[in-house]
Amino acid sequence: MRETGHSVETAHGGVVSGHSTIGEQSVRSRADAEITSSFARGDDGSLHEVYNRWSPLVYTVSLRSVGNGDDAADVTQAVFVAAWQGRQGFDPDAGSLPGWLLGITRRKVADHFRSRGRLPEPSAEVPEQAAADPRVESVIDRVLLADEIARLGDPQKRILELCFFQDMTHAQVASLLDLPLGTVKSHVRRSLGRLRERLEVDGVRH
């Protein structure tokens, strides 16, 4: 058993880390892409894969929006039933599958509030598309970022947590983790880029 500390350069010139063309992210996005195309084809059983992959995202956004577990489970159920029934409306070229699922989640959360009289019915004056709920948008951003931070490997995850939640400077982080300053800086840059991209890909309201 041995461990080496360098990044893996591929034969094709890409460095296997962070934002590069080849690496964990593309391993992950390739798996996501397979689930996505299977769902877009309407393959038998593909909803189960979609559910396994993205139900925590949908459920947690629902839970943080509606406030209790039973209602969040109802919303999540409505989202995945609607996703399956409306799968022909999913266009993989128009956006990511989790982004599309979160779009349905926004509508089902609004339905939930409406059924409790806490939101007006959509009308000519206030069409549903315009009625973004800023609280739900902020929940979505936070859950997506929490998810992406959890998916960063170490030391990237640890570095960001120290910068974000302990308000440490990159120099303090480098000293604490005994890492070169330049390494910490480049991890910070790449990780922040990943977080921004995650919001852009999955968090944008369509």
């Binding site: 058993m1 893996v8 059983g45 139900s55 459920y59 399956w84």
Partner: protein, 229 residues
């Protein structure tokens, strides 16, 4: 455009975190909308991230929810398969191994498989070809009575110039553990080092290595996949 010296991306990231960076031309941001806009975009991400609480971390819905979903879809009259698609041919060697009762490793090792009580699979990865490569396969971690083993099945590997080595990488592929040299047969089995944290090294990778005395990863990988635990 000449004469404009934009800020480097690392400086922009640090400014977004609210750090003061020594030697930075603070006046640049006042005159350069492009750099200011990059700082603003990242700062919005940072500001949101700093409001995350434990409750924002994705958690799984209740266990019985999937059943409720399939029940509702079926009650609407849809013909619906609850089972995820299987790996098809790529899975067949496990079925074969179970039928025969043994897995014959390429190095002559014979792993007895108790058919009534097979070693449970605790993680699995689809090994996908890296760009320019054709081979694909699967890897499984099984919990045997002698500890966890990694089973690797990559059929139709081309004859290498050198040899193939199996690795487990960190998610960022910046640290790794050498698992062993891949033998001639399709199915290879490797004991995993006792106490190894699989969460820390979840990516199974097969590289081409030269007989050059260099123990580090060549960087020339054929297939790779993340274990799904």
């Amino acid at each position: 455009m000449s004469g404009i010296d934009h800020m480097d991306e690392e400086t922009i990231a640090l400014l977004a975190l609210g750090e003061s960076v020594a030697g930075v031309d603070a006046g640049h941001l006042q005159v350069c909308a492009a750099c200011q806009s990059k700082v603003d975009q990242l700062r919005a991400v940072v500001d949101t991230a700093r409001t995350i609480t434990d409750e924002d971390r994705p958690m799984s819905p209740p266990d019985d929810l999937w059943q409720s979903i399939t029940d509702q879809i079926e009650s609407d009259g849809a013909v619906f398969s609850k089972k995820p698609p299987t790996g098809g041919l790529r899975m067949s060697w496990f079925a074969l191994a179970a039928a025969v009762g043994v897995i014959v490793g390429s190095l002559g090792t014979i792993v007895a498989v108790d058919q009534r009580n097979p070693a449970p699979t605790i993680a699995q990865a689809e090994l996908e070809p890296l760009p320019g490569q054709q081979a694909r396969g699967i890897a499984q971690v099984r919990d045997t009575t002698n500890g966890p083993v990694l089973l690797v099945d990559v059929p139709n590997l081309p004859q290498p110039e050198g040899y193939y080595e199996v690795w487990m990488l960190s998610p960022e592929a910046d640290s790794m553990v050498s698992i062993g040299v891949l033998g001639q047969g399709s199915v290879n089995e490797f004991p995993l080092p006792a106490g190894m944290d699989m969460q820390a090294f979840p990516v199974v990778d097969i590289s081409v290595e030269q007989f050059d005395g260099d123990v580090t990863h060549s960087g020339d990988s054929l297939v790779r996949g993340m274990l799904d635990t």
